[in-house]
Symmetry: C2
């Protein structure tokens, strides 16, 4: 399912922001902080982006938040293993290709089902 915001278009686009809700077949992955961080970093690189820093936290009893600071903006994930669900954002400006990053992320986790919203970001 792909959605698009129709009335939020910038006059000058500076980046594309992908909002994705994902479900996984294997929810244990959503508690595996190293695997999640590695997947985000690999996805960023695959989408032609440069990683500057990773900030991550594993919650108790479950759930992971990872934020990847990029030259081209950021990728974030918040996981709810108890639902097999995670909330992802891929915000890319410049040479970054967030759609390629999302494709890579889908294969790495791997994603069973997802809902995607694309938002053009920039000057209004």
């Amino acid at each position: 399912m792909d959605f698009k915001v129709e009335n939020f278009e910038p006059k000058q686009k500076l980046g594309m922001h992908i909002v994705a809700e994902i479900y996984l077949d294997n929810p244990d992955v959503l508690n595996d902080e190293k695997r999640i961080v590695d997947a985000l970093v690999d996805s960023a690189v695959y989408g032609n982006m440069t990683v500057i820093n990773v900030s991550s936290h594993k919650f108790s009893p479950h759930g992971v938040t990872s934020l990847v600071l990029l030259s081209e903006s950021h990728i974030s994930i918040h996981t709810w293993p108890e639902y097999g669900y995670a909330a992802i954002d891929i915000f890319a400006c410049g040479k970054g290709d967030p759609e390629k990053s999302l494709e890579k992320l889908k294969s790495l986790l791997p994603v069973k089902d997802l809902k995607v919203l694309k938002i053009d970001r920039g000057l209004f």
Copy 2:
């Protein structure tokens, strides 16, 4: 200007994600990394959220990206001082109040004009 995504509603809402495009009267603020980080942290606390970690980078020749990892999700900013513009995301679940955080941020930077999109995040 406030926008809402009409067709992306989750069956079970787990958080609210505010996407905001902002303009400032004083674009120098958008190069002041410390002020930006302090404003994000203060806004998070004002919105009843708990800061776990801050990841920030000042770009050359201009621009700042700051990512605040929260118990309740995250706040991010990417600034373009050359346009007097910044892209903000406030994603809050649990007890977090992203609208209060945005109000605080508007006063701290301070914001001249903005465009806001609210997205309910969660299970579909």
